[in-house]
């Protein structure tokens, strides 16, 4: 079968006019990605700092005040206020005005000075489990540090002040030294954008021809399924690649998210992943023949998996076994793995080739399925 470039060009030009004429498609193609990048780079963060703490100090000694003072001075906590009793503290948690409530019971210092364990009540608002877990981690390590200080005091009272701690953890963070969630969220959002433009927008294009009745006309034209689908895909390919470049540029200029790896490897990965998205979108469009249904299905099989089942924000390792298997067939999983390699770990093809290979296979399968389905529809 011969492919006639002029046929492809004609379909592409027609599709291009459709997009340009309807400012809403343009919105979706450029403004929405822009909005997402701005939101994710600037406004949305999973990091937790300045945990709001309220303290009920029933001990009122120098030591308890020292404890509160150190807490307030720490970069992780923000001591909002002192409260008279536990009920007031619970009310603050209920209203969401504080994340941690500490209750220092009476005779606390007395217990510590006479070498007994002194309980400290810590209430953590865990309704948001991410914030809850991080806050709990912060407060327990804060208490541990305070304990080390108490131990040092104890040892010096016993005349053992030159005893040093036996082990010391020297932590170095790799790949994302500042521990900024932005550094992994901004690359990840590119995967979501490509799915929106590549699959959600294209899921409408063939269904639209069916709903408007223009499919009949196209069937009567001397054009093959491959030419028709390629022509339909080209404008969206160009738009999505522009979005990718825009995202790269904005990430670097506005948010300081710098890609450490090779630019061309990034372009190659994006083209492959985008082609998978286009194949998927076109297939949905041909199979459903209804814009509303196509849109909803595309949302379900492209946008949501890219957001949820791809190791983007939610770690795959926490999912049930069955769903972990599902993530293996989500294209975004591989694309995000590549992006992680290029943006954070700075590794090359020798590490990333399996993901490239999977994306290539996915592209071949999705394109083949879309073309076969289109042929069955009589083109």
């Amino acid at each position: 079968m011969l492919i006639n470039p002029r046929n492809i060009q004609a379909v592409a030009r027609k599709e291009f006019y459709h997009i340009v004429r309807d400012y809403r498609s343009l919105y979706m193609a450029f403004a929405l990605p822009l909005l997402l990048i701005l939101l994710f780079g600037y406004a949305l963060s999973l990091d937790v700092d300045n945990v709001k703490v309220v303290i009920v100090d029933q001990d009122r000694t120098e030591l308890s005040r020292d404890f509160a003072g150190r807490l307030d001075a720490s970069a992780y906590f923000d001591l909002v206020t002192h409260l008279p009793d536990e009920r007031a503290a619970v009310a603050w948690l209920d209203a969401g005005k504080a994340t941690i409530a500490l209750v220092i019971p009476p005779r606390w210092t007395e217990n510590i000075r006479s070498n007994r364990e002194a309980p400290l009540q810590v209430l953590v608002d865990a309704s948001d489990p991410n914030i809850g877990a991080i806050s709990r981690g912060y407060i327990t390590s804060f208490v541990e540090q305070f304990n080390s200080r108490l131990l040092a005091d104890f040892l010096s009272r016993q005349g053992l002040e030159n005893l040093r701690p036996a082990v010391e953890g020297r932590v170095r963070v790799w790949f994302n030294e500042e521990l900024e969630s932005r550094n992994f969220i901004v690359p990840g959002i590119i995967a979501v954008i490509i799915m929106i433009v590549g699959a959600m927008l294209t899921s409408l294009v063939v269904a639209r021809e069916y709903e408007n009745g223009t499919m009949e006309t196209i069937r009567s034209l001397p054009i093959s399924a491959v030419e028709f689908l390629t022509g339909k895909a080209i404008p969206y390919f160009l738009i999505a690649m522009t979005d990718v470049l825009m995202a790269l540029l904005m990430g670097q200029l506005l948010f300081g998210v710098v890609m450490k790896g090779s630019f061309w490897m990034m372009i190659l990965a994006s083209s492959l992943y985008l082609s998978v998205a286009l194949g998927l979108g076109l297939f949905i469009s041909i199979a459903t023949k209804s814009q509303l249904v196509a849109n909803q299905i595309a949302l379900l099989v492209s946008y949501l998996p890219a957001l949820l089942l791809s190791n983007f924000v939610f770690p795959v390792e926490n999912m049930p076994r069955m769903l972990q298997l599902v993530t293996w067939i989500v294209p975004a999983t591989y694309y995000i793995d590549i992006l992680n390699g290029l943006f954070l770990r700075n590794v090359g093809m020798s590490y990333l080739w399996p993901s490239y290979l999977v994306l290539l296979c996915m592209f071949l399968v999705s394109a083949a399925v879309a073309v076969v389905k289109m042929r069955k529809e009589g083109l």
Partner: protein, 373 residues
């Protein structure tokens, strides 16, 4: 206003909605699939941390370090390396989350009473998880330290220490599901009510039957009520179904009052239907309506506190979230499900939904009537 005319248009709308077989999966299947995905997927807990270990000391002391990590329920030593290169490789290939290196002089230093370093390399690519993992690692080492000191010092060390008794409230097991599933109920109601309201009107426009509706003696208000009432009923039915599913399938506790939840949803629907109507006035085709709806849904979703906490956002953006009805609905639904709080705590949210709903709905109706006249 004529009740019979409204009733008839509601009836017509229901018939049209259910006759079209393609609508059924969207109405009945999609919400449950989305709820299932969210219920099972979304979790940022730190449970199973994979550790790579390089032990160059191979002594009793270094084995204590290994045992300390293996004894912890959170850590799991999955790989052992023989040299630093191999250890780094494990991190680069994402085989482990944390790499621990114990140097050759480890036990020697401890026996001499000096401080021996344990090198910890953490994969920081997912920063929120990495932070928690590092905190846990340091805790394990801190505990180990106290064991070593006990061993080194002949006399008993029973110093007065603080025993932090941490209780995690509202969600004691830190189940992400308890947080996200109720939120998802709100998001689903938003998606369905926004999308279907605008579609119902757009279809009349696309097919050309809008003209016919205009020439009937029906008043604009009657048309608006007739067109929105079916989706109010469907959204409420959906809320009930999805809530039951959340409670009975996922065992999400519902601590507060169901009546308050229903009230919240009704108020929330006013703004959604208003936005749906508004979208229908600015769109001519289904495609346009869908894209415009999506354009509303994405920022509403992102700027609601559903996944990303509002406190973390810059102040300007925090200001914007006050215009987002989903923000208030999430506080209500989570407050009712997780905290079991009532009107005394939640009244500002309800008030905000009323104000926002009335403004949006009135604005949309005004626009809609103008287009009809």
């Amino acid at each position: 206003m004529n009740r019979i005319r409204i009733r008839e248009i509601v009836r017509k709308e229901f018939i049209q909605l259910f006759r079209d077989r393609k609508n059924r999966p969207i109405l009945f299947v999609m919400p449950f699939i989305q709820l299932l995905i969210f219920g099972y997927v979304v979790s940022t807990d730190v449970r199973d941390v994979k550790v790579g270990l390089l032990d160059q000391s191979r002594t009793r002391e270094s084995r204590l370090v290994r045992d300390a990590f293996e004894g912890s329920p959170i850590f799991r030593i999955t790989h052992r390396a023989d040299d630093p290169r191999e250890l780094e490789e494990l991190l680069l290939r994402r085989k482990v989350d944390i790499a621990i290196k114990i140097g050759p002089d480890f036990s020697e230093r401890i026996r001499k009473g000096e401080t021996a370093a344990v090198q910890v390399l953490a994969d920081g690519s997912m920063s929120n998880l990495a932070g928690v993992r590092i905190a846990y690692t340091l805790q394990v080492l801190e505990k180990l330290n106290q064991d070593f000191i006990r061993e080194l010092v002949p006399q008993r060390i029973d110093y007065g220490r603080i025993d932090a008794r941490v209780r995690t409230w509202y969600n004691p097991n830190l189940e992400s599901r308890d947080f996200f599933v109720p939120g998802m109920v709100a998001v689903l109601i938003m998606i369905i009510s926004l999308l279907f309201t605008s579609m119902a009107i757009i279809k009349e426009k696309e097919v050309g039957t809008m003209e016919q509706l205009i020439v009937t003696p029906m008043r604009p208000f009657e048309l608006i009520f007739g067109k929105t009432i079916p989706y109010i009923l469907i959204s409420i039915a959906q809320m009930v179904a999805v809530t039951l599913f959340a409670v009975f399938w996922f065992d999400i506790p519902m601590r507060g009052s169901a009546g308050l939840l229903l009230l919240g949803v009704c108020l929330f629907l006013i703004s959604n239907l208003g936005i749906g109507l508004f979208v229908s006035t600015i769109s001519a085709t289904q495609q346009q309506a869908m894209l415009t709806t999506f354009f509303f849904i994405v920022p509403f979703f992102m700027l609601s506190g559903f996944v990303f906490p509002i406190e973390n956002m810059p102040l300007v953006v925090q200001g914007l979230t006050y215009l987002n009805p989903l923000r208030y609905m999430l506080v209500i639904i989570r407050g009712i499900f997780l905290k079991g709080v009532g009107m005394t705590v939640l009244w500002p949210q309800y008030l905000a939904l009323v104000i926002l709903g009335v403004l949006v709905f009135a604005g949309a109706v005004g626009r809609f009537r103008k287009r009809l006249d």
